[in-house]
């Protein structure tokens, strides 16, 4: 029976179900087919695609690389974002201007900025090696060596997304209660102790939320990699999404890439759930 309460929920719910759920179910069906360049359409080949996923070293390596990249970039973003938020939290000169400035990178389009970063990291014509050479360093093979390319992607990710951490953490700091700080001041606690015993514990819920959101977004990374390094050199910066993209939309192995993407999705959901539980237990000291 339809009543006014359904007027509110149903339009959104039906839209999302129609746009997301059917494609997802379709992907499940496609993953059991041999759909590729030569044979298009839905046949049934059982779990053969899935067996191939488990034997595909390139996929598992991309997953390892993705984990390393996500964990490193999110930890850096969190640490730097928290430091920046603390630095502008209390009155500083030009605080307003700094806050706006620090937010800007997250408003910019990742691929557009990656086009710029590519010129920044250019080995012979870019400014980074030019500046480094003034200090007698270099030339650093930023985009043409495995380590250099990985670090370049890391730098761009930190530049782009530290503002998001800064935004969440500063908003959290602004709404903290005043009383615990009075108590700490009466106890004569210094800056350092006040941070670890008052600020950090009070910020734990926001910390968890911010880390999870960023890990979710970081696990999907592909735009930056596509423009900056195209996964290269070799496969040095190839993330899982990018590898699945190559298999699916470049080699047109539709069936196989469907299987890959579902395995990837399940691994993401499981590992993010575990990480969320671990964070809750260590930072808040309880389950759920």
């Amino acid at each position: 029976m339809l009543s006014s309460k359904h007027f509110f929920l149903l339009p959104a719910l039906l839209t999302l179900v129609a746009i997301i759920l059917f494609p997802l179910l379709f992907t499940v069906r496609v993953s059991f087919s041999s759909w590729d360049v030569f044979q298009s359409g839905l046949d049934f080949i059982g779990g053969r695609n899935y067996v191939r996923v488990f034997e595909d070293d390139r996929f598992w390596q991309s997953l390892q690389r993705l984990s390393l990249l996500s964990i490193m970039s999110v930890s850096l973003q969190y640490t730097l974002g928290f430091a920046l938020a603390l630095a502008v939290w209390k009155q500083v000169r030009g605080g307003r201007l700094l806050r706006v400035l620090f937010l800007i990178p997250m408003m910019t389009t990742p691929v557009v900025m990656s086009v710029i970063w590519r010129t920044v990291f250019h080995e012979s014509l870019g400014p980074v090696n030019d500046i480094l050479s003034a200090f007698g360093v270099g030339p650093v093979p930023w985009l043409s060596s495995a380590t250099g390319a990985f670090i370049s992607v890391l730098i761009v990710e930190v530049w782009q997304w530290t503002p998001f951490m800064f935004l969440l953490l500063l908003a959290g700091l602004v709404s903290l209660p005043k009383e615990p700080y009075l108590a700490a001041a009466i106890d004569g606690a210094g800056t350092w102790r006040t941070f670890w015993q008052v600020t950090f514990p009070l910020m734990a819920p926001i910390t968890i939320g911010a880390l999870i959101i960023r890990l979710i977004e970081a696990s999907k990374i592909m735009d930056t990699v596509y423009v900056l390094t195209s996964g290269g050199p070799g496969t040095a910066t190839e993330t899982s999404s990018y590898y699945i993209y190559i298999r699916g939309l470049r080699d047109f192995q539709i069936g196989y890439s469907a299987a890959l993407s579902l395995v990837y999705l399940v691994i993401m959901i499981i590992s993010l759930t575990i990480i969320a539980k671990l964070l809750l237990r260590t930072l808040v000291g309880k389950d759920e």
């Binding site: 999302l16 910019t108 010129t119 979710i216």
Partner: protein
């Protein structure tokens, strides 16, 4: 705070500010260069290091072999982003209000599960949906159209709108609705006459996040449009892989990121007022 801390803090803020503005300044300087100023190695300051030229900027507004017109992609990007954000905001606000005020039940599925269903869509990697979206839009004849992209972007942005607005409505006391309803409003009337006018801060925050994620998406535009509809991120990437000179690329990049950089000013205002804290938990 002692002097050491203070110096450290100032240096840190200064260093980070330089890091943040560096790519923008570099792009700005590059956009005024010509071939000589680029191929001779890194140069920085116009008139001192190189003789500025405006060809990077003029090439964006001319057609033909020299030009790479930015106007078309800009309009397409704006249209897709604005329509999709508006639709998501309307649907998302209604749903969020429903979820915060009424009880829904479908078998074992309750309000919390429905909210989770909405928000959990953010976990979905775009690549998982890309191929089915491609086939679905092909079926609908909506590939390479603004309509097709709007459809996909609504799925992308709706979870964000629901997420921000659910938290926002949780902070508005239910007495406000009840008062309106004892005054003779229907639940729907109460929502439009009383709740909605009081929800502007939440709507602004949700709307901004929709704009950011819509304007900045590359992957779906890249896989679902080709020539008829072209968004800014896709155009710049195709320019990047051809032989487009750095000065045009830089000017193009600066124009495409400019509109949202202005959004940062609005976000800052809401954030420092503390209005944001409820919305982002």
């Amino acid at each position: 705070m002692n002097k050491f801390y203070h110096t450290l803090k100032t240096l840190f803020l200064l260093g980070w500010s330089i890091f943040v503005v560096f790519p923008f300044l570099w792009a700005l300087s590059t956009s005024f260069k010509d071939a000589n100023a680029i191929t001779s190695g890194a140069t920085y300051i116009p008139w001192v290091d190189f003789e500025p030229s405006t060809q990077g900027w003029t090439s964006l507004f001319t057609n033909g072999s020299q030009g790479i017109n930015i106007v078309g992609p800009f309009i397409d990007s704006a249209a897709v982003t604005l329509i999709a954000s508006l639709v998501s905001l309307i649907l998302g606000t209604l749903a969020a209000y429903g979820l915060s005020r009424f009880e829904y039940r479908l078998g074992f599925v309750k309000n919390a599960d429905i909210t989770f269903f909405f928000i959990s869509q953010r976990i979905m990697p775009p690549i998982v949906l890309a191929i089915p979206f491609f086939l679905m839009l092909k079926e609908l004849g909506a590939l390479d159209t603004i309509f097709g992209l709007v459809l996909v972007y609504v799925a992308l942005l709706l979870p964000i709108a629901v997420w921000v607005m659910t938290d926002f409505f949780a902070g508005i006391p239910k007495e406000l609705d009840e008062m309106a309803m004892t005054d003779g409003c229907s639940p729907i009337g109460a929502f439009f006459r009383v709740i909605l006018p009081n929800s502007v801060p939440g709507l602004v925050v949700a709307g901004m996040f929709c704009l950011i994620f819509g304007w900045n998406d590359f992957f779906f535009a890249f896989t679902l449009t080709f020539t008829e509809t072209q968004l800014l991120p896709v155009s710049i990437v195709s320019l990047n892989s051809s032989v487009t000179p750095w000065w045009s690329l830089s000017a193009f990049a600066l124009i495409s990121v400019a509109p949202l950089a202005l959004v940062a000013i609005v976000v800052e205002r809401y954030m420092s007022r503390g209005t944001m804290s409820g919305a982002i938990r």
